[in-house]
Protein backbone atom coordinates (compact mmCIF):
# COMPACT_ATOMS: atom_id res chain seq x y z
CA UNK A 1 0.00 0.00 0.00
CA UNK A 2 1.31 3.40 -0.93
CA UNK A 3 0.56 5.08 2.38
CA UNK A 4 2.34 2.32 4.32
CA UNK A 5 5.43 2.81 2.16
CA UNK A 6 5.26 6.55 2.81
CA UNK A 7 4.92 5.92 6.54
CA UNK A 8 8.03 3.75 6.54
CA UNK A 9 9.82 6.36 4.46
CA UNK A 10 8.97 9.14 6.95
CA UNK A 11 11.31 7.66 9.56
CA UNK A 12 14.25 7.99 7.18
CA UNK A 13 14.08 11.77 7.23
CA UNK A 14 15.82 13.81 9.93
CA UNK A 15 13.11 16.50 9.82
CA UNK A 16 10.50 13.87 10.72
CA UNK A 17 12.42 12.78 13.80
CA UNK A 18 12.83 16.41 14.83
CA UNK A 19 9.08 16.93 14.36
CA UNK A 20 8.27 13.83 16.43
CA UNK A 21 10.54 14.92 19.31
CA UNK A 22 8.99 18.40 19.30
CA UNK A 23 5.53 16.83 19.01
CA UNK A 24 6.01 14.58 22.04
CA UNK A 25 7.41 17.52 24.04
CA UNK A 26 4.53 19.83 23.16
CA UNK A 27 1.95 17.08 23.63
CA UNK A 28 3.24 16.38 27.12
CA UNK A 29 3.42 20.05 28.22
CA UNK A 30 0.09 21.08 26.75
CA UNK A 31 -1.83 18.21 28.32
CA UNK A 32 -0.21 18.71 31.74
CA UNK A 33 -1.25 22.35 31.94
CA UNK A 34 -4.44 21.75 29.91
CA UNK A 35 -6.13 19.72 32.66
CA UNK A 36 -5.69 22.62 35.11
CA UNK A 37 -6.64 25.32 32.60
CA UNK A 38 -9.81 23.58 31.39
CA UNK A 39 -11.10 22.91 34.91
CA UNK A 40 -10.20 26.46 36.00
CA UNK A 41 -12.26 27.70 33.00
CA UNK A 42 -9.05 29.45 31.95
CA UNK A 43 -8.27 27.53 28.76
CA UNK A 44 -8.91 30.57 26.55
CA UNK A 45 -5.62 32.05 27.80
CA UNK A 46 -3.93 29.48 25.55
CA UNK A 47 -5.91 30.82 22.60
CA UNK A 48 -5.07 34.42 23.53
CA UNK A 49 -1.37 33.74 24.00
CA UNK A 50 -1.16 31.92 20.67
CA UNK A 51 -2.33 35.15 19.00
CA UNK A 52 0.33 37.04 20.94
CA UNK A 53 2.90 34.52 19.69
CA UNK A 54 1.71 35.25 16.14
CA UNK A 55 2.32 38.98 16.63
CA UNK A 56 5.72 38.36 18.27
CA UNK A 57 6.80 36.17 15.35
CA UNK A 58 5.65 38.81 12.88
CA UNK A 59 7.73 41.42 14.75
CA UNK A 60 10.69 39.00 14.77
CA UNK A 61 10.45 38.38 11.03
CA UNK A 62 9.90 42.09 10.34
CA UNK A 63 13.01 43.08 12.28
CA UNK A 64 15.08 40.08 11.07
CA UNK A 65 15.38 38.66 14.62
CA UNK A 66 15.06 34.92 15.38
CA UNK A 67 11.24 34.74 15.62
CA UNK A 68 10.97 32.04 18.27
CA UNK A 69 13.62 33.53 20.54
CA UNK A 70 11.78 36.84 20.29
CA UNK A 71 8.45 35.13 20.97
CA UNK A 72 9.56 33.44 24.22
CA UNK A 73 10.01 36.55 26.41
CA UNK A 74 7.14 38.36 24.67
CA UNK A 75 4.60 35.61 25.35
CA UNK A 76 5.79 35.14 28.94
CA UNK A 77 5.58 38.88 29.68
CA UNK A 78 2.16 39.19 28.04
CA UNK A 79 0.84 36.16 29.98
CA UNK A 80 1.59 38.06 33.21
CA UNK A 81 0.23 41.27 31.70
CA UNK A 82 -3.13 39.60 30.90
CA UNK A 83 -3.59 38.60 34.55
CA UNK A 84 -2.61 42.09 35.77
CA UNK A 85 -4.90 43.74 33.21
CA UNK A 86 -7.87 41.73 34.50
CA UNK A 87 -7.28 43.12 38.00
CA UNK A 88 -6.09 46.63 37.17
CA UNK A 89 -8.80 47.46 34.64
CA UNK A 90 -11.44 45.56 36.65
CA UNK A 91 -12.35 43.56 33.54
CA UNK A 92 -14.86 40.74 33.65
CA UNK A 93 -14.19 37.12 32.67
CA UNK A 94 -11.88 36.65 29.72
CA UNK A 95 -12.15 40.22 28.38
CA UNK A 96 -8.42 40.85 28.93
CA UNK A 97 -7.62 37.78 26.81
CA UNK A 98 -9.97 38.99 24.06
CA UNK A 99 -8.46 42.47 24.05
CA UNK A 100 -4.89 41.22 23.94
CA UNK A 101 -5.65 38.58 21.27
CA UNK A 102 -7.35 40.96 18.86
CA UNK A 103 -4.68 43.64 19.35
CA UNK A 104 -1.98 41.03 18.64
CA UNK A 105 -3.68 39.76 15.48
CA UNK A 106 -4.07 43.36 14.27
CA UNK A 107 -0.37 44.04 14.90
CA UNK A 108 0.73 40.77 13.26
CA UNK A 109 -1.36 41.25 10.10
CA UNK A 110 -0.35 44.93 9.80
CA UNK A 111 3.34 43.96 9.93
CA UNK A 112 2.76 41.08 7.49
CA UNK A 113 1.14 43.55 5.13
CA UNK A 114 4.00 46.06 5.38
CA UNK A 115 6.81 43.47 5.11
CA UNK A 116 5.36 41.45 2.23
CA UNK A 117 8.60 39.48 1.88
CA UNK A 118 7.91 37.24 4.86
CA UNK A 119 4.27 36.29 4.21
CA UNK A 120 5.17 32.72 3.19
CA UNK A 121 7.26 32.19 6.34
CA UNK A 122 4.41 33.50 8.45
CA UNK A 123 2.02 30.88 6.98
CA UNK A 124 4.22 28.05 8.29
CA UNK A 125 4.12 29.63 11.76
CA UNK A 126 0.34 29.98 11.55
CA UNK A 127 -0.50 26.35 10.76
CA UNK A 128 2.71 24.45 11.51
CA UNK A 129 5.15 22.84 9.13
CA UNK A 130 7.32 19.87 10.01
CA UNK A 131 9.79 20.80 7.30
CA UNK A 132 10.74 24.02 9.07
CA UNK A 133 11.65 22.48 12.45
CA UNK A 134 15.32 23.10 13.19
CA UNK A 135 17.69 21.70 15.81
CA UNK A 136 17.28 24.82 17.98
CA UNK A 137 13.50 24.20 18.02
CA UNK A 138 14.11 20.65 19.23
CA UNK A 139 16.39 21.87 22.03
CA UNK A 140 13.88 24.57 23.05
CA UNK A 141 11.04 22.04 23.08
CA UNK A 142 12.96 19.54 25.25
CA UNK A 143 14.12 22.22 27.71
CA UNK A 144 10.71 23.92 28.02
CA UNK A 145 8.72 20.70 28.32
CA UNK A 146 11.17 19.56 31.03
CA UNK A 147 10.62 22.85 32.89
CA UNK A 148 6.82 22.55 32.56
CA UNK A 149 6.81 18.92 33.77
CA UNK A 150 9.08 19.60 36.75
CA UNK A 151 7.10 22.69 37.84
CA UNK A 152 3.80 20.78 37.58
CA UNK A 153 5.30 17.92 39.62
CA UNK A 154 6.48 20.28 42.36
CA UNK A 155 3.23 22.26 42.56
CA UNK A 156 0.80 19.46 41.69
CA UNK A 157 -1.13 19.43 44.97
CA UNK A 158 -1.34 23.23 45.23
CA UNK A 159 -2.50 23.45 41.60
CA UNK A 160 -5.12 20.77 42.16
CA UNK A 161 -6.38 22.46 45.33
CA UNK A 162 -6.67 25.81 43.54
CA UNK A 163 -8.41 24.17 40.58
CA UNK A 164 -10.98 22.40 42.73
CA UNK A 165 -11.69 25.28 45.11
CA UNK A 166 -9.57 28.43 44.94
CA UNK A 167 -11.19 29.98 48.01
CA UNK A 168 -10.39 26.98 50.16
CA UNK A 169 -6.90 26.80 48.67
CA UNK A 170 -6.13 30.35 49.77
CA UNK A 171 -7.39 29.59 53.31
CA UNK A 172 -4.99 26.62 53.38
CA UNK A 173 -2.06 28.87 52.56
CA UNK A 174 -1.84 28.18 48.82
CA UNK A 175 -0.60 31.30 47.02
CA UNK A 176 -3.32 31.25 44.38
CA UNK A 177 -2.35 34.51 42.64
CA UNK A 178 1.24 33.35 42.22
CA UNK A 179 0.07 29.95 40.99
CA UNK A 180 -2.21 31.54 38.42
CA UNK A 181 0.73 33.59 37.17
CA UNK A 182 2.88 30.45 37.06
CA UNK A 183 0.19 28.61 35.08
CA UNK A 184 -0.07 31.51 32.61
CA UNK A 185 3.73 31.58 32.13
CA UNK A 186 3.85 27.79 31.61
CA UNK A 187 1.05 28.15 29.05
CA UNK A 188 3.12 30.78 27.27
CA UNK A 189 6.15 28.46 27.11
CA UNK A 190 4.00 25.60 25.81
CA UNK A 191 2.53 27.80 23.11
CA UNK A 192 6.01 28.79 21.93
CA UNK A 193 7.34 25.22 21.72
CA UNK A 194 4.28 24.11 19.78
CA UNK A 195 4.39 26.86 17.18
CA UNK A 196 6.70 25.03 14.74
CA UNK A 197 4.86 21.72 14.69
CA UNK A 198 1.27 22.87 15.16
CA UNK A 199 1.20 26.59 14.47
CA UNK A 200 0.00 29.61 16.45
CA UNK A 201 -3.60 29.33 15.26
CA UNK A 202 -4.06 25.70 16.32
CA UNK A 203 -1.78 25.11 19.30
CA UNK A 204 -4.44 26.04 21.87
CA UNK A 205 -6.54 23.07 20.65
CA UNK A 206 -3.90 20.74 22.04
CA UNK A 207 -4.35 22.31 25.46
CA UNK A 208 -8.11 21.72 25.37
CA UNK A 209 -8.84 18.49 23.42
CA UNK A 210 -6.87 15.81 25.35
CA UNK A 211 -8.18 16.77 28.83
CA UNK A 212 -11.81 17.12 27.73
CA UNK A 213 -11.68 13.77 25.92
CA UNK A 214 -10.28 11.85 28.90
CA UNK A 215 -12.46 13.68 31.47
CA UNK A 216 -15.45 11.88 29.96
CA UNK A 217 -14.07 8.61 31.31
CA UNK A 218 -11.84 9.31 34.32
CA UNK A 219 -12.87 9.17 37.98
CA UNK A 220 -9.94 10.97 39.59
CA UNK A 221 -7.58 13.80 38.77
CA UNK A 222 -4.28 11.90 38.75
CA UNK A 223 -5.58 9.48 36.10
CA UNK A 224 -6.93 12.46 34.13
CA UNK A 225 -3.48 14.05 34.00
CA UNK A 226 -1.66 10.83 32.99
CA UNK A 227 -4.29 9.71 30.48
CA UNK A 228 -4.44 13.18 29.00
CA UNK A 229 -0.63 13.26 28.54
CA UNK A 230 -0.67 9.83 26.91
CA UNK A 231 -3.55 10.68 24.58
CA UNK A 232 -1.97 14.00 23.66
CA UNK A 233 1.30 12.32 22.66
CA UNK A 234 -0.59 9.69 20.63
CA UNK A 235 -2.64 12.39 18.86
CA UNK A 236 0.41 14.51 18.03
CA UNK A 237 2.53 11.60 16.79
CA UNK A 238 -0.25 10.09 14.67
CA UNK A 239 -1.18 13.57 13.41
CA UNK A 240 2.40 14.31 12.37
CA UNK A 241 2.79 10.98 10.58
CA UNK A 242 -0.57 11.42 8.83
CA UNK A 243 0.36 14.92 7.74
CA UNK A 244 3.48 13.51 6.06
CA UNK A 245 1.63 10.63 4.41
CA UNK A 246 -1.30 12.72 3.14
CA UNK A 247 0.73 15.90 2.51
CA UNK A 248 -1.35 18.10 4.82
CA UNK A 249 -0.33 20.91 7.21
CA UNK A 250 0.79 19.23 10.45
CA UNK A 251 -1.19 21.49 12.82
CA UNK A 252 -4.44 21.05 10.91
CA UNK A 253 -4.02 17.27 10.79
CA UNK A 254 -3.38 16.99 14.55
CA UNK A 255 -6.38 19.18 15.40
CA UNK A 256 -8.70 17.40 12.94
CA UNK A 257 -7.67 14.07 14.43
CA UNK A 258 -8.26 15.42 17.97
CA UNK A 259 -11.69 16.70 16.93
CA UNK A 260 -12.60 13.32 15.43
CA UNK A 261 -11.54 11.48 18.62
CA UNK A 262 -13.52 13.98 20.72
CA UNK A 263 -16.73 13.52 18.72
CA UNK A 264 -16.30 9.73 18.61
CA UNK A 265 -15.72 9.54 22.40
CA UNK A 266 -18.69 11.83 23.13
CA UNK A 267 -20.92 9.74 20.87
CA UNK A 268 -19.73 6.53 22.53
CA UNK A 269 -20.31 8.00 25.98
CA UNK A 270 -23.83 9.18 25.17
CA UNK A 271 -24.84 5.89 23.51
CA UNK A 272 -23.47 4.01 26.54
CA UNK A 273 -25.43 6.26 28.90
CA UNK A 274 -28.64 5.76 26.90
CA UNK A 275 -28.11 2.01 26.86
CA UNK A 276 -27.67 1.80 30.63
CA UNK A 277 -30.50 4.18 31.56
Amino acid sequence: MEWLELLKLSFVYGFMWRALIVGVAVGLSSSLIGSFLVLNKFSMIGHGLSHVAFAAIAVGLFTNQAPLLFAVPTVVIVSIFILKLNNAANLQGDAAIGLTASFSIALGTALASIGDGFNVDLFSYLFGSILTIKQIDVILAIVFSFIVSVVIWFFYHDLFSMTYDDEYASVSGVKTKRLNTLLAVLTGLTIVIGIRAIGTMLISALIIFPPIIVMQFTRNFKTTIFASALLSIVLVVSGLLSSFVFDLPSGSTIVLLSGFVFFASTLYNNVKRLATS
Binding site: L39, W153, F154, F155, H157, D158, F160, S161, Y164, D165, E167, Y168, A169, S170, V171, S172, G173, V174, M215, T218, R219, N220, F221, K222, T223, T224
Partner: protein, 249 residues
Protein backbone atom coordinates in the same frame (compact mmCIF):
# COMPACT_ATOMS: atom_id res chain seq x y z
CA UNK B 1 -10.03 31.39 75.79
CA UNK B 2 -6.50 30.31 75.04
CA UNK B 3 -4.05 29.84 77.88
CA UNK B 4 -2.93 33.46 77.82
CA UNK B 5 -6.57 34.58 77.51
CA UNK B 6 -6.01 35.88 74.01
CA UNK B 7 -8.89 35.28 71.59
CA UNK B 8 -8.29 33.04 68.58
CA UNK B 9 -9.44 35.83 66.28
CA UNK B 10 -9.98 39.50 67.12
CA UNK B 11 -11.53 41.91 64.63
CA UNK B 12 -11.22 45.66 65.12
CA UNK B 13 -13.43 48.20 63.32
CA UNK B 14 -13.66 46.08 60.17
CA UNK B 15 -14.95 47.65 56.99
CA UNK B 16 -15.09 46.03 53.56
CA UNK B 17 -16.07 47.95 50.44
CA UNK B 18 -16.87 46.47 47.03
CA UNK B 19 -16.40 49.52 44.83
CA UNK B 20 -18.81 52.10 46.25
CA UNK B 21 -20.85 49.50 48.17
CA UNK B 22 -19.98 48.96 51.82
CA UNK B 23 -20.61 45.30 52.68
CA UNK B 24 -19.67 45.56 56.36
CA UNK B 25 -18.62 48.43 58.61
CA UNK B 26 -17.46 49.09 62.19
CA UNK B 27 -17.37 45.45 63.14
CA UNK B 28 -15.39 44.50 66.23
CA UNK B 29 -15.67 41.26 68.14
CA UNK B 30 -13.62 38.33 69.41
CA UNK B 31 -13.83 34.61 68.78
CA UNK B 32 -12.56 32.70 71.80
CA UNK B 33 -11.36 29.13 72.03
CA UNK B 34 -14.26 26.76 72.64
CA UNK B 35 -16.94 29.07 71.23
CA UNK B 36 -19.74 27.63 69.11
CA UNK B 37 -20.64 30.81 67.31
CA UNK B 38 -23.61 31.23 64.98
CA UNK B 39 -23.40 34.11 62.50
CA UNK B 40 -26.89 35.17 61.40
CA UNK B 41 -28.43 38.02 59.45
CA UNK B 42 -30.35 38.76 56.25
CA UNK B 43 -29.19 37.87 52.73
CA UNK B 44 -26.69 40.47 51.57
CA UNK B 45 -26.06 41.51 55.17
CA UNK B 46 -22.35 40.70 54.91
CA UNK B 47 -22.13 37.40 56.83
CA UNK B 48 -19.93 35.65 54.28
CA UNK B 49 -17.88 38.79 53.72
CA UNK B 50 -17.24 39.04 57.46
CA UNK B 51 -16.14 35.42 57.76
CA UNK B 52 -13.94 35.59 54.68
CA UNK B 53 -12.32 38.74 56.05
CA UNK B 54 -11.65 37.02 59.37
CA UNK B 55 -9.97 34.14 57.52
CA UNK B 56 -7.86 36.42 55.32
CA UNK B 57 -9.58 35.58 52.02
CA UNK B 58 -10.79 39.19 51.72
CA UNK B 59 -8.56 42.09 52.73
CA UNK B 60 -10.45 44.68 54.84
CA UNK B 61 -10.76 48.21 53.46
CA UNK B 62 -10.44 49.52 57.02
CA UNK B 63 -9.71 47.97 60.39
CA UNK B 64 -7.70 44.88 61.17
CA UNK B 65 -7.93 41.18 62.02
CA UNK B 66 -5.61 39.69 64.62
CA UNK B 67 -5.31 35.91 64.43
CA UNK B 68 -3.61 33.81 67.07
CA UNK B 69 -0.41 32.79 65.28
CA UNK B 70 -0.71 29.01 65.64
CA UNK B 71 -4.43 28.66 65.06
CA UNK B 72 -5.31 26.14 62.32
CA UNK B 73 -8.56 26.90 60.55
CA UNK B 74 -10.67 24.40 58.62
CA UNK B 75 -13.17 25.96 56.22
CA UNK B 76 -16.36 24.57 54.69
CA UNK B 77 -17.46 27.00 51.96
CA UNK B 78 -20.99 27.77 50.79
CA UNK B 79 -22.59 25.98 47.81
CA UNK B 80 -20.19 23.07 47.61
CA UNK B 81 -22.70 21.22 45.48
CA UNK B 82 -22.77 23.71 42.63
CA UNK B 83 -19.30 22.57 41.59
CA UNK B 84 -19.39 20.61 38.36
CA UNK B 85 -20.74 17.11 38.78
CA UNK B 86 -18.27 15.87 36.22
CA UNK B 87 -15.20 17.31 37.97
CA UNK B 88 -12.73 14.39 37.72
CA UNK B 89 -11.65 14.18 41.35
CA UNK B 90 -11.97 11.38 43.87
CA UNK B 91 -13.12 11.96 47.44
CA UNK B 92 -9.60 11.07 48.62
CA UNK B 93 -8.03 13.73 46.38
CA UNK B 94 -10.45 16.41 47.57
CA UNK B 95 -10.00 15.64 51.28
CA UNK B 96 -6.21 15.55 50.79
CA UNK B 97 -6.24 19.26 49.91
CA UNK B 98 -7.13 19.87 53.56
CA UNK B 99 -3.67 18.61 54.53
CA UNK B 100 -1.75 21.11 52.43
CA UNK B 101 -1.63 23.76 55.17
CA UNK B 102 0.66 21.53 57.25
CA UNK B 103 2.91 20.47 54.37
CA UNK B 104 6.17 22.07 53.34
CA UNK B 105 7.53 22.33 49.79
CA UNK B 106 7.43 20.08 47.82
CA UNK B 107 4.04 19.01 49.17
CA UNK B 108 3.43 15.27 48.98
CA UNK B 109 0.58 13.08 50.19
CA UNK B 110 1.94 10.02 52.02
CA UNK B 111 0.41 6.62 52.83
CA UNK B 112 -0.06 7.85 56.40
CA UNK B 113 -2.03 10.82 55.07
CA UNK B 114 -4.28 8.45 53.11
CA UNK B 115 -4.93 6.51 56.33
CA UNK B 116 -5.86 9.77 58.09
CA UNK B 117 -8.26 10.58 55.26
CA UNK B 118 -9.88 7.15 55.57
CA UNK B 119 -10.13 7.55 59.36
CA UNK B 120 -11.80 10.97 59.18
CA UNK B 121 -14.32 9.72 56.60
CA UNK B 122 -15.08 6.76 58.86
CA UNK B 123 -15.51 9.15 61.81
CA UNK B 124 -17.97 11.25 59.81
CA UNK B 125 -19.98 8.19 58.85
CA UNK B 126 -19.07 8.07 55.15
CA UNK B 127 -16.85 4.99 54.97
CA UNK B 128 -15.86 3.29 51.75
CA UNK B 129 -16.14 6.29 49.44
CA UNK B 130 -12.43 7.23 49.20
CA UNK B 131 -12.10 6.31 45.52
CA UNK B 132 -15.54 7.54 44.44
CA UNK B 133 -15.76 10.59 42.16
CA UNK B 134 -16.90 13.57 44.22
CA UNK B 135 -19.66 14.37 41.70
CA UNK B 136 -21.37 11.00 42.23
CA UNK B 137 -22.10 11.64 45.91
CA UNK B 138 -25.42 12.73 47.38
CA UNK B 139 -25.79 16.22 48.90
CA UNK B 140 -25.38 14.92 52.44
CA UNK B 141 -22.30 12.88 51.52
CA UNK B 142 -20.69 15.83 49.74
CA UNK B 143 -21.32 17.97 52.79
CA UNK B 144 -19.53 15.44 54.99
CA UNK B 145 -16.63 15.23 52.54
CA UNK B 146 -16.24 19.00 52.75
CA UNK B 147 -16.29 18.71 56.54
CA UNK B 148 -13.70 15.91 56.32
CA UNK B 149 -11.48 18.17 54.22
CA UNK B 150 -11.78 20.91 56.82
CA UNK B 151 -11.16 18.50 59.73
CA UNK B 152 -8.42 16.24 58.38
CA UNK B 153 -5.63 18.52 59.60
CA UNK B 154 -7.09 18.57 63.16
CA UNK B 155 -7.96 22.29 63.09
CA UNK B 156 -8.46 24.41 66.21
CA UNK B 157 -11.35 26.16 64.53
CA UNK B 158 -13.96 25.14 61.96
CA UNK B 159 -15.65 27.82 59.87
CA UNK B 160 -18.77 26.69 58.01
CA UNK B 161 -20.68 28.88 55.57
CA UNK B 162 -24.32 27.70 55.49
CA UNK B 163 -23.32 24.04 55.43
CA UNK B 164 -26.81 22.72 56.09
CA UNK B 165 -28.68 24.67 53.42
CA UNK B 166 -28.90 21.65 51.07
CA UNK B 167 -29.91 19.18 53.76
CA UNK B 168 -33.33 18.11 54.98
CA UNK B 169 -34.31 18.74 58.59
CA UNK B 170 -33.22 15.30 59.83
CA UNK B 171 -29.82 15.51 58.15
CA UNK B 172 -29.51 19.10 59.39
CA UNK B 173 -29.99 18.02 63.01
CA UNK B 174 -27.52 15.16 62.63
CA UNK B 175 -24.96 17.52 61.12
CA UNK B 176 -25.36 20.03 63.95
CA UNK B 177 -25.09 17.23 66.53
CA UNK B 178 -21.82 16.22 64.93
CA UNK B 179 -20.53 19.79 65.19
CA UNK B 180 -21.70 19.94 68.80
CA UNK B 181 -19.76 16.74 69.52
CA UNK B 182 -16.61 18.21 67.95
CA UNK B 183 -17.05 21.36 70.01
CA UNK B 184 -17.72 19.57 73.30
CA UNK B 185 -15.53 16.47 73.08
CA UNK B 186 -12.67 17.70 70.92
CA UNK B 187 -12.61 21.38 71.96
CA UNK B 188 -12.92 22.57 68.36
CA UNK B 189 -14.10 26.18 68.06
CA UNK B 190 -17.00 26.39 65.61
CA UNK B 191 -18.10 29.39 63.56
CA UNK B 192 -21.31 28.62 61.69
CA UNK B 193 -23.07 30.91 59.23
CA UNK B 194 -26.70 29.86 59.21
CA UNK B 195 -30.19 30.94 58.22
CA UNK B 196 -31.69 28.38 60.56
CA UNK B 197 -30.88 29.57 64.05
CA UNK B 198 -34.02 27.88 65.32
CA UNK B 199 -32.43 24.44 64.82
CA UNK B 200 -28.89 25.56 65.66
CA UNK B 201 -29.80 27.46 68.86
CA UNK B 202 -29.78 24.21 70.88
CA UNK B 203 -26.07 23.83 70.22
CA UNK B 204 -24.52 27.31 69.86
CA UNK B 205 -22.99 29.27 72.73
CA UNK B 206 -22.79 32.66 70.99
CA UNK B 207 -24.80 34.47 68.34
CA UNK B 208 -23.54 37.25 66.11
CA UNK B 209 -26.16 39.13 64.05
CA UNK B 210 -24.74 41.06 61.11
CA UNK B 211 -26.66 43.39 58.84
CA UNK B 212 -23.80 45.37 57.36
CA UNK B 213 -23.09 46.30 61.00
CA UNK B 214 -22.85 44.16 64.08
CA UNK B 215 -26.32 44.30 65.65
CA UNK B 216 -25.96 41.61 68.30
CA UNK B 217 -23.23 39.54 69.91
CA UNK B 218 -24.16 37.47 72.91
CA UNK B 219 -25.82 34.37 74.27
CA UNK B 220 -28.52 32.71 72.13
CA UNK B 221 -31.00 32.81 75.05
CA UNK B 222 -30.98 36.61 75.04
CA UNK B 223 -31.07 36.99 71.27
CA UNK B 224 -34.32 38.50 70.03
CA UNK B 225 -34.29 39.25 66.31
CA UNK B 226 -37.59 41.18 66.59
CA UNK B 227 -35.93 43.81 68.78
CA UNK B 228 -32.95 44.51 66.57
CA UNK B 229 -33.10 47.89 64.89
CA UNK B 230 -31.11 48.74 61.83
CA UNK B 231 -29.55 52.15 62.48
CA UNK B 232 -29.90 54.89 59.89
CA UNK B 233 -26.71 56.20 58.37
CA UNK B 234 -24.81 58.28 60.93
CA UNK B 235 -27.21 57.30 63.70
CA UNK B 236 -25.86 55.62 66.81
CA UNK B 237 -26.87 51.95 67.07
CA UNK B 238 -29.50 51.13 69.67
CA UNK B 239 -28.63 48.54 72.29
CA UNK B 240 -30.65 45.44 71.48
CA UNK B 241 -32.58 43.90 74.29
CA UNK B 242 -30.38 41.65 76.37
CA UNK B 243 -27.41 41.71 74.01
CA UNK B 244 -24.22 43.58 73.39
CA UNK B 245 -23.39 45.66 70.37
CA UNK B 246 -19.66 45.28 70.08
CA UNK B 247 -17.59 48.31 69.31
CA UNK B 248 -20.17 50.32 71.23
CA UNK B 249 -20.15 48.43 74.51
Amino acid sequence: MTQNNKPLIRSKDLQVNYGTFTAIRNISFDIDKGDFLAVVGPNGGGKSTLIKTLMGIIRPTKGEVETESKVKIGYVPQNVQVRERRFPASVEEVVATGLLMEKSFPKRITKRDLERIKDILDFLGVSGICKKPIGELSGGQQQRVMLARAMVSNPDMLVLDEPTSALDITMRRKFLEMLHHLNEAHDVTIVLITHDLMTASHYVTQVVHVDNRLLYHGAPAKYDPANLTIPMSGEKESQPKGGVVHGMA
